[in-house]
């Protein structure tokens, strides 16, 4: 074990002394993230206002048919969200759910009957503070986590505004009644007036009452989470980090064949050190370089872009397992290649293909279904799923699927790479 650590530490030191490698491992992902953030306006507008996604298909069933239900439909179809959402009002719930299940749309919003009345009692009706409000249902498509997250965020913001208006109205009427400013006989009429004002309010800031809100959104198909804003940077930064993680692992593979070429591999094998120890040391060194790269990128983007990556343990687990899977790919490429140049060539091609296919450049939900299925062979897709879950407030407990996917991928690739290496008689000759 001591020699494995020794070889790994040496490789780590060499990797971080190589200026070209540092540029590609650390500077490039930072700069690309920054560039994409500038293009999508993340740095010039508040987080969550720009997503880089467009025309997200969403279906809406409006059973409420009253002011708030209609307002929500209007919001989803508004000119402001025109580019981002493609919201269609439908009637058939079964067909709509099927469309979600078949991955034709990113989600289904069901505005139940009585939604408006549960928030704003009809003229002359009594206000029941303790009454359970009717919930808007959002049937999310788990295959499109980012698109679903955006729709969910819009719904939560709408609910926040509704709740804000409702509570503010109630508080105002109550305060005026207790202070004697408003005679009890005029309270109902004043409340109706407040309701009218509230319905027309559009540009309120998010309510400070959000935490105590009794209005809630029921999300089906994705774990219920507390209200979060979807930050486009939270998607781009992991995308770039995972893209360049593939560079780092192929760099590690290249160093393995470079050692053979510069005869240090052969020299190691004339010391009391076995080929298995050398191979394990090289793999571990590559793995450590990848882990360190992600730690620096995540830490750096947190500081520079004020980006919240989410639950610490979840992020740590994702770093460890995404790097494990990516290192498996790096070793497999190395096992097939004959020269360091071949590793670079194959590695760069695979890095780009995985980047596109795995969602590092384009949201996976915008790609054809067969690409989304194929994307599961990339660490990028699993990793991005995980980081998106964390970005939306998930914890380590919610990462089961991505973590299992990455573990299985890494294990299979390592076994395959070791088998291929064991047949490589040319390594030391």
């Amino acid at each position: 074990m001591r020699k494995i650590l020794l070889i790994a530490a040496k490789d780590l030191r060499l990797a971080f002394r190589d200026r070209a490698a540092i540029i590609l491992m650390l500077a490039a992902p930072f700069l690309l993230t920054l560039g994409m953030a500038l293009v999508t306006g993340r740095l010039t507008s508040p987080a969550g206002q720009s997503s880089g996604l467009s025309n997200i298909p969403v279906l809406v069933i409006n059973r409420d048919g009253e002011s708030l239900g209609n307002a929500l439909v209007d919001t989803l179809q508004s000119a402001e969200l025109d580019e981002l959402l493609d919201a269609r009002v439908v009637e058939d719930e079964e067909a709509a759910r099927r469309a979600v299940d078949e991955d034709q749309v990113a989600g289904l919003v069901i505005i139940p009957a009585g939604f408006t009345r549960s928030v704003i009692p009809a003229q002359g009706g009594a206000i029941d503070i303790a009454a359970e409000p009717v919930k808007i249902q959002f049937y999310a498509n788990p295959a499109r986590p980012n698109s679903s997250a955006i729709i969910e965020t819009i719904l939560r913001e709408f609910i926040s505004r509704v709740e804000e208006g409702r509570v503010m109205g109630m508080v105002s009427v109550f305060q005026m009644l207790t202070s004697g400013v408003l005679p009890p006989a005029e309270a109902q009429a004043y409340g109706d007036e407040m309701r009218q004002l509230f319905q027309s309010a559009q540009d309120e800031e998010l309510s400070a009452f959000e935490e105590t809100s009794t209005l809630t959104l029921k999300v089906i198909g994705a774990p219920e989470e507390e209200s979060v804003r979807f930050d486009v940077m939270a998607y781009m930064a992991p995308g770039m980090a995972l893209l360049f993680l593939m560079f780092t692992v192929t760099y590690g593979g290249r160093s393995f064949l470079a050692e053979r070429r510069q005869r240090t591999l052969q020299r190691m094998l004339t010391t009391p050190t076995g080929i298995a120890q050398v191979l394990a040391g090289k793999m571990f060194g590559t793995y450590l370089s990848g882990v360190l790269q992600l730690v620096v990128l995540i830490g750096g983007s947190s500081l520079l872009f004020n980006l919240r990556w989410g639950d610490f343990w979840g992020v740590a687990a994702l770093i460890l397992l995404a790097t494990f899977a990516a290192t498996g790919w790096g070793m497999l490429i190395t096992a097939f290649a004959r020269t360091p140049v071949q590793v670079s060539t194959y590695g760069s091609a695979i890095m780009l293909v995985f980047g596109i296919m795995g969602g590092s450049f384009i949201d996976l939900s915008m790609l054809p279904a067969f690409v989304r299925i194929l994307s599961r062979i990339t660490p990028n897709a699993w990793g991005l799923d995980g980081f998106t879950i964390l970005g939306l407030g998930g914890t380590l407990a919610d990462l089961g699927r991505p973590l299992v996917g990455l573990s299985v991928m890494g294990s299979l690739l390592f076994v395959l790479a070791v088998l291929l290496f064991s047949r490589r008689r040319d390594l030391v000759q």
Partner: protein, 315 residues
């Protein structure tokens, strides 16, 4: 003396190519033994098998009693190797390189630190210890390359053509180091080279290897004795001239043992060079060949190789 190395019918094949064809020899503890042969003779393959880099196809070798086939790890603890290529990490400093390789040889703690400093002193690199190897000259890299092989004080050191491609000054320093290691530390050295002068200067005994076969083995005196008191007459012609035409005439002369053409020169193995020289010049003049230089070489390993193989060492 006890043999520290016993090579027995060693064969190494790469597919259809047999690089080493059943060689056998012994190296005694405390001696410098040179494997002399041209490029491609099988010297590096032999060293690679003996240093357990890969197993022989047939045969075996015992190093300090350990078989390279059955006990490669035990062998690796006894041997040190200085490969022909500079096998160092260019982005690590000299000291970091020594520390890394020392730890692979099992050194640690104070012992590792002391040995690194000793080797730095021995190779004259103390002042450059904290500089990255990529900033070193070729000679400095060669010295460090040797230093790595000495770290763990091996009983048997393999040096595979350690002076290839370096300046005369560094070459001289390396040859002196080899002699010092043998004389002062009592280290046994198996040295491969295609430079006859190096083998002559360093070795207690020499094995001449060609096309994977050991064609002669012994002390210099023993080997030279095999070709009698013959001298070699070396004639150098102009670059635009071919001496091939006069070879039959020279071979027909009395006292000429062998004639070998090499580029624009002829090597003529003769019984008495001074006696035959006028006749040789006469033949050249008759064929309008301008002789640029004439050299008479005393019997040496080059002449031995020439007689045994019909080729010069540089071929």
């Amino acid at each position: 003396m006890n043999p520290i190395l016993q090579v027995n019918q060693l064969v190494k094949r790469y597919g259809d190519l047999t690089a080493v064809k059943g060689i056998s020899f012994e190296v005694q503890e405390g001696e410098i033994f040179s494997l002399l042969g041209p490029n491609g003779a099988g010297k590096t393959t032999t060293i690679s098998v003996l240093s357990t880099l890969f197993p022989p196809s047939e045969g075996d070798a015992l190093i300090a009693g350990h078989s390279v086939v059955r006990g490669p790890y035990a062998v690796r603890r006894v041997i040190g190797i200085v490969p022909q290529e500079i096998a160092l990490y260019e982005d690590l400093t000299a000291r970091e390189n020594l520390q890394f390789w020392g730890q692979l040889y099992g050194l640690s703690g104070r012992e590792l630190k002391e040995r690194c400093e000793e080797v730095l002193e021995q190779t004259g690199l103390q002042e450059k210890a904290n500089q990255r190897v990529k900033t070193f000259s070729g000679g400095m890299k060669r010295r460090l390359n040797i230093g790595v092989g000495l770290l763990h004080r091996p009983r048997l050191l393999f040096m595979d053509e350690p002076t290839v491609g370096i300046d005369p000054q560094s070459r001289r320093a390396i040859l002196d180091t080899v002699k010092d290691l043998n004389r002062q530390a009592g280290m046994t050295i198996l040295y491969t080279t295609h430079y006859m002068e190096e083998a002559q200067e360093l070795s207690h005994r020499v094995g001449i290897i060609d096309h994977g076969e050991m064609i002669a083995i012994g002390t210099q005196a023993e080997l030279v004795k095999r070709i009698g008191q013959r001298e070699t007459l070396v004639l150098q012609f102009g670059e635009d001239q071919s001496a091939a035409a006069i070879i039959p005439q020279l071979e027909a002369m009395s006292g000429v043992q062998q004639v070998i053409a090499e580029n624009h020169s002829l090597q003529v193995l003769v019984n008495d060079a001074e006696e035959i020289l006028p006749a040789v010049i006469q033949v050249c003049t008759a064929e309008n060949l301008k002789v640029r230089t004439i050299q008479i070489q005393e019997p040496n390993l080059e002449a031995v190789f020439l007689q045994l193989t019909g080729r010069a060492l540089r071929d």
